[in-house]
Symmetry: none
Subunit: 404 residues, 2 copies
Amino acid sequence: MLTIEQIEELAQPSSSRIILLVIDGLGGLPRPETGKTELETARTPNLDLLAKEGICGLIDPVSTGVTPGSGPGHLALFGYDPLRFTIGRGILEALGVDFPLHDGDVAARGNFCTIDESGIVTDRRAGRISTEKCAELCQRMVGIKIKGAEILVSPVKEHRCVVVFRRENLCPALSDSDPQKIGLAPRSVEALSPEAEETAQLANEFLSEAGNILKSEHPANMVLLRGFSQHPHLPPMSEIYKLNPAAIATYPMYRGLARLAGMEILESGPSLSDELDTLSLHYHGTVPYDFFFIHVKATDSAGEDGDFNRKVSVIEEVDSHIPRLMELSPDVVMVTGDHSTPAMLKAHSWHPVPFLLRSQWCRPDSVTDFSESSCARGSMGRFPGVDIMPLAMANALKLSKFGA
Amino acid sequence: MLTIEQIEELAQPSSSRIILLVIDGLGGLPRPETGKTELETARTPNLDLLAKEGICGLIDPVSTGVTPGSGPGHLALFGYDPLRFTIGRGILEALGVDFPLHDGDVAARGNFCTIDESGIVTDRRAGRISTEKCAELCQRMVGIKIKGAEILVSPVKEHRCVVVFRRENLCPALSDSDPQKIGLAPRSVEALSPEAEETAQLANEFLSEAGNILKSEHPANMVLLRGFSQHPHLPPMSEIYKLNPAAIATYPMYRGLARLAGMEILESGPSLSDELDTLSLHYHGTVPYDFFFIHVKATDSAGEDGDFNRKVSVIEEVDSHIPRLMELSPDVVMVTGDHSTPAMLKAHSWHPVPFLLRSQWCRPDSVTDFSESSCARGSMGRFPGVDIMPLAMANALKLSKFGA
């Protein structure tokens, strides 16, 4: 596996264009009644044609047996080894609400929770308060300033929020205040390195202040913090691959991940049809983008809801848009997911994810349809997710020879 | 993947013998008219039989998507991780002309070029002067001595030459003088580490002297240097594998690569038939060689020329010699390439390379013919090129158990 530094030495700019279509949570598990997964159940004549004309395989976004979060899953697809480049929970949460992070901000994921009179956590999610209530509670913390630091609290969904500490010289090497189970008191935030001492004090004073503000609330009378982190500063794809990359994604978190990789975010309506309109508009537009990441969220949501049939429908809807995508005659098309989300498990899973790549130069294998079981027999075999970018670059004739 | 240090701990000498047949640039791409690659088009009953009796797979000599040069491709086949052991351009060029390198020599690849009156490079290849002209120009530099260093200039082909600096305490950490594009002046050679300061001065003085010698020539009135490097000193195969290895190769570069790996070079006539005569002579000869590397160049040349049919013919010719090879009853036979060279691309490519291994102990898979598409379904799957040596050693019963 090449490092991004090694790829950077081989990458050459050219006019060829690459499209990466990510069907979030694509991989599934068979329904016992039929023995077929969501993808195998869906009628997908257009994806099948791509599989027939292209090469297939199964990717492990992180490593064998490892269930990827959305962050690591996408980093891998963009070519960043997720075991080397990590995104803290706080930063990921901030990306998820399009929070305008400044350089040096320390972000933490917050949970509104319930504590009893003795300060013991009795519900880590405060009965999953409504998102409106969460927004109201966040609003009450506006304007908190401690030791010259600005503290910003932004609602996410239900009991979840983001807390951002803004001042010079902050350090995110901090332990969580969230005890991770009920029956314990919130922990005080500890500095995990000497440079984080002041940031730890800041976090603890904020938590004490938040406790005062929330004390008459019920059930959300406290907030727990975890995953203190700063922006990871990835080398941009323009440097590594000499690409001019753009992203089309309707959910903030995926736009945020694309932005971390240095992609330009293209404005798009919410439907898949809107996303393809955006693609068509920019594919031959004035800015010469040569890499397009398109994100489809609804497959993952259906999987998380355990709704096998809805996931099948979404896959069929994606399939119906493939002809529009292929009308653009992209030099390289890849279709895959950032992880599996089997409806049978109602959650992300470790199962390797179907992958296809089609280009003029791919040397097609014998696979004639796009499914987990067919991809397992593809010529790419089972391989690391981070390898899809070098493979795409090669097929776009954008990688020079290694050594003489 | 085991390191060579780990393999060395397991390797045991024995009387069994291994043959590695490298068909240079073996992998190809399908011709659109037939959907078949060069190897799939060729009639190869003997290779097919080996595939049937053996195990098959596809190897990536360097890494997914990476197009290997001949150096890294062969190092991988000999078991040296090409990302760990690199061969500088200068050294590879010297190997290519059988240049007798001494320990400590610094070699650079030279290009005769054309510069205009203001010193700007107008042609990096001096109109591809003839090899004879190149030899004549190199001859004019014989005897240059600078700061006690001997400087040797040897012709390669057309505008290409090798420049070797010979003196104690030279250091190859130098930038190129070749600006890599026209419209720029040659760069002065810079030391990339403090120990290289004197070598940089030496290189610059040589370049100035060469400019004086060439100034009345046209079009080759200057020389550009790149890829300053020293002998990489690989641990020899005799140490790593406890093998007594020999090489049969008609092109100097491949003999040079084999010599880097510590192989004995066997004298051979130029044809494939000559190579097999050499093999037969030494297989039961007085020196107990137990590893034979045989190199076939003509497949790669046909691929580079874009001559699909000629590549097919060469593969068929190789196939016709397989019975002679098998008459020797080698314990382990491997057939593969150092990279793909599809006639469709007229160049080396990143496509994984067909691989077969036959031995008494290989546990045959279901593959019954030798081709890219069949190998994709082989029991070895797609795997790193460096793994073929441990696999061969195992099949030769020359690797002891790892751990208890």
